[in-house]
Amino acid sequence: MSSEPTGRTTTADVPLDRVVDDADRVVAFERYRPEHYGGLVEMYDDFPPEQRAQGLPPATESAITEWLAVLLDHVSVVAVHDGAVVGHAALVPDDAGNHELGVFVDDDYQDAGVGSALLEATFEYARSIGIADVWLSVARSNHRARHVYDALGFAEAGEKGRSLRLVREL
């Protein structure tokens, strides 16, 4: 009847990309699916408080749940290793229809190239669905994150208080 391979009802579960990170871990990047939800909440629940920036991720599980309800309504890509969610990139449209980028990487997977690869995969997917550019807000003092965005070709496009606005064409 159907020529669709069994066990795969949509193409959503085909990884967008897969990389071997600097610690030799195979990390896959996938469009968010409801199966990822538990792993995602777990990652945010365990997020080290000192790594929270600009109020994110929220500190309590109920606030995380509320926040994810907004984020997951739009474009989300997750990084998966060994069945666990280890990274999350989200694009949320603003009032002007431009997309704001938010990205979070599990503590144990930082500085291993996972964040950059997650963003590359996210950008490629975003491009494929017609998103032409993204912006983000980063604390001026967050040099670590700014370094990553700089390497990915983001450019400064204004400031607000202690935050910088960065933009990048896809």
Binding site: A53, Q54, G55, L56, P58, W67, V70, L71, A90, V92, P93, D94, E100, L101, G102, S137, E159, K160, G161, R162, S163
Partner: protein
């Protein structure tokens, strides 16, 4: 009943501030509560906090609105002032919904604390600078600022006005964070 403008230009009657919570002309210490359009979502929290601070410090509350030039012109036009008219900003402040809301919400807690309020307004594009100037002019004991905004992904972006006030105010500043 007619309202008289106080010597410094305050016209509280425009906002219908009830007599028993209206600051008299000889009032002394005050805390300044700037309220702008972006505060619409936090008026209750601002009013409650301001009443508490003023009550505990035994001061009055001065509600302040800073019109940007563009907004000032817009409100003048809406009220059919001639194009070259420069009405006192206090005459327009009753048009600013969050200011009306805050003054209404202040009445009960101010009564409970046994203190009073007045309402002032200024015009200037450097909103933070105008707030600081108003605090200096009033020899304010405290300035309260709200100002946390969120981006679409939920990041907290600390408002530049709040930052300006916190760095430049002549007195301690209480930052009223959203929940």
């Amino acid at each position: 009943m007619s309202e008289t403008a106080a010597s410094d230009g305050r016209v509280d009657g425009e906002l219908g501030v009830a007599g028993d919570v209206r600051t008299h002309a000889d009032a002394h210490d005050t805390v300044v509560l700037p309220v702008g359009y972006s505060d619409a979502g936090r008026v209750e929290h601002l009013a409650r906090t301001a009443a508490e601070v003023a009550g505990m410090m035994e001061t009055t509350v001065r509600v302040l609105h800073v019109f940007t030039e563009a907004r000032y012109r817009e409100v003048c036009d809406r009220l059919n002032y001639p194009a070259d008219a420069r009405p006192a900003p206090e005459d327009l402040v009753g048009r600013v919904a969050p200011v009306r809301d805050v003054t209404n919400l202040l009445e009960d807690p101010l009564r409970a604390w046994g203190t009073t309020m007045d309402v002032t307004a200024r015009v200037g594009d450097d909103v933070g600078g105008e707030i600081v100037a108003a605090a200096e002019a009033a020899d304010a004991k405290r300035v309260l600022v709200g100002g946390r905004r969120r981006t679409p992904t939920g990041k907290v972006v600390f408002g530049s006005t709040a930052q300006r006030v916190m760095l430049s105010a002549p007195c301690p500043v209480t930052f009223v964070r959203d929940h």
